[in-house]
Symmetry: C2
Subunit: 390 residues, 2 copies
Amino acid sequence: MPDLDLTSYLRESRELVVQEITSFLPRDPRSRAILYDLMLDYPLRSAKALRPALCIATCRALGGHLESVLRSAAVLELYHNAFLIHDDVEDGSEHRRDAPTLHRRYGVAIAVNVGDAMLALTLEPLLDNMRTIGMGKALRILRAVARMARESAEGQAIELDWIRHGLWTLRDADYVRMVYKKTSWYTFITPTIIGAVIAHADEARLVVLRKFASLLGVAFQMQDDILNLTAERAYGKEIGGDLWEGKHTVLLLHMMRSATAAERERARAILRKRRPDTRDPGGHAALGDGALRELVAELHARGDMTRAAADAITRHIAVSPRSDVKTPEDVAFLVALMERYGSVAYATEIAQRWARKARAVLEAARPWLEDSVHRAFMEQLVDFVVERGY
Amino acid sequence: MPDLDLTSYLRESRELVVQEITSFLPRDPRSRAILYDLMLDYPLRSAKALRPALCIATCRALGGHLESVLRSAAVLELYHNAFLIHDDVEDGSEHRRDAPTLHRRYGVAIAVNVGDAMLALTLEPLLDNMRTIGMGKALRILRAVARMARESAEGQAIELDWIRHGLWTLRDADYVRMVYKKTSWYTFITPTIIGAVIAHADEARLVVLRKFASLLGVAFQMQDDILNLTAERAYGKEIGGDLWEGKHTVLLLHMMRSATAAERERARAILRKRRPDTRDPGGHAALGDGALRELVAELHARGDMTRAAADAITRHIAVSPRSDVKTPEDVAFLVALMERYGSVAYATEIAQRWARKARAVLEAARPWLEDSVHRAFMEQLVDFVVERGY
């Protein structure tokens, strides 16, 4: 296997891609400062940029050229950053990649509009592909992007439906189907397929590469689930955020299957609760009700209010309407159950199993996917996916 | 001019379009109930559906066939409904077309995902166009949709930037440039151009039709501005909502130019304030703080609190942190200034002027745009745009 430093490969791809995005954004000076410069905010922040690197590596490992794949790889990154902006708004996130989220910098309306505009701007460069790589390939790439968007929306819809109906006793097979749609298509299958189509891979090879990417995507999501619970705070992600959000991680599903009926019942009651939120109606503590608290203290000091009354109001502000919102104790209870039943070890083991399957598929493709730094990147990506700490 | 009932034309177009949308939505039974059925929620509610009707009418007025234009017209309607879902989330709206908004029915996360999926689903039918109307036309339509998305995002960005920087002393020409991008491209130019491209109109005719649509779009937005202030509550829109949101209407800009320096200063201070919002940190009244109010009343009744203390807390809950939020008095002040300076009459007059220009362009096109019910629809649309009460 040729010498390769995965981190350098990622960094070099990312630099090319950011340059490419900059080159195809409209330059109209009147719209630049209020729209197009804002589109570069997230892409310019430090990030792994896995998707474009995988797209470029697949294409080049199959003998395709960087010039033919760069624009499509850049579109994938632009698309992804648009979704990050919208996700951050939806989740009310404060930080992204060690800096304030776009909506914290410019307000929600501007952030949503910038995200919409980025999604819209993915179409023109993909149409321009026709001139550079030909009609047939350009159309297949457009179809692939449309499919990616549809699959990930369906995956997202499955999980949101589970959350809405409080479904928690699910099999790993249910999880895998959801994650295949939500993560594999978006992060692995589409970048791989686009790279392969540009390199003119035939149908049989596409099938193999798609298999590789599907397996890798599932392993990646499982590792993401694990890291969410165990990793040091990195890339602005919050530890245990999945539990607060009530996400269906492979760890949580394992724990729910392993727990006693009584534990499961309590866990289910916790998971039904909402996540506390700064926009939360009634979340007084978060809503800066220090002023009300001070007023109460002052009225009590002045003798206008008994201690009992002051306490009653303070208690009301602090907790009263919050019985439907998760507490730190709730989340700690879930974590303790996961520890008791070894859910992290379980998830680690099956993530490794999916990664091994991905590795085997890549190995079997050796007759037509020869050694190169690009193939080496794909191999090391498999290790990285399940060994990474961020 | 052939006999035509505008309302029936709109209704018939809308029925065909809704049927067409239903026909191209994926039918996968596992995703239907959780995703695809939700996409039909807004389109199935009563609406004017102007955009697809204009697209169909332009195509047919030029001799094109319904079968060739229907799919593209349906995509425009799907696209528009996706944006309505996202707008409703962003504005925290409660009602849309006389029913609860999608996020009130299913929660914000599901609503955002459904909107994203609808936007993504516009791509495949537009690619399918290649088989039915040919490669050349299908590509021009894709470019037109990409351009529409870009222009409206730029228009939106201009207005959001004005709001962010508190710019209120603007000329009508600034307003027209913003509205041309935000409204004309989205609601009139793109539907018209797509209809014309499908009917094989040459470049010279496209230029004329684009001019017609641009003028009509400006007139439409001006009438929208007027109706927002004057109309009976219709289609779930809130009276004076533009003032609460601080939108740059042609009425407001006229008033700001006409007002005295002192009035302008006070208006500017009001417009800088935010709109009250149910998600508003500190907007206690809206946040269901009836419970806290009851607790205070009870403590006072029990003698645990003086009347002065109870009043102080009640006052705090009602108003205290709200000095940066508009009040009904603020909005009434703006309305009174508009009345004093005749801003509605001014806006009505110039909306009529833009409509007259649109009518003249259509009249001059008579040599190649002959009498038909479809041309009659376009003519009556001009009247409707400036005479409608909803």
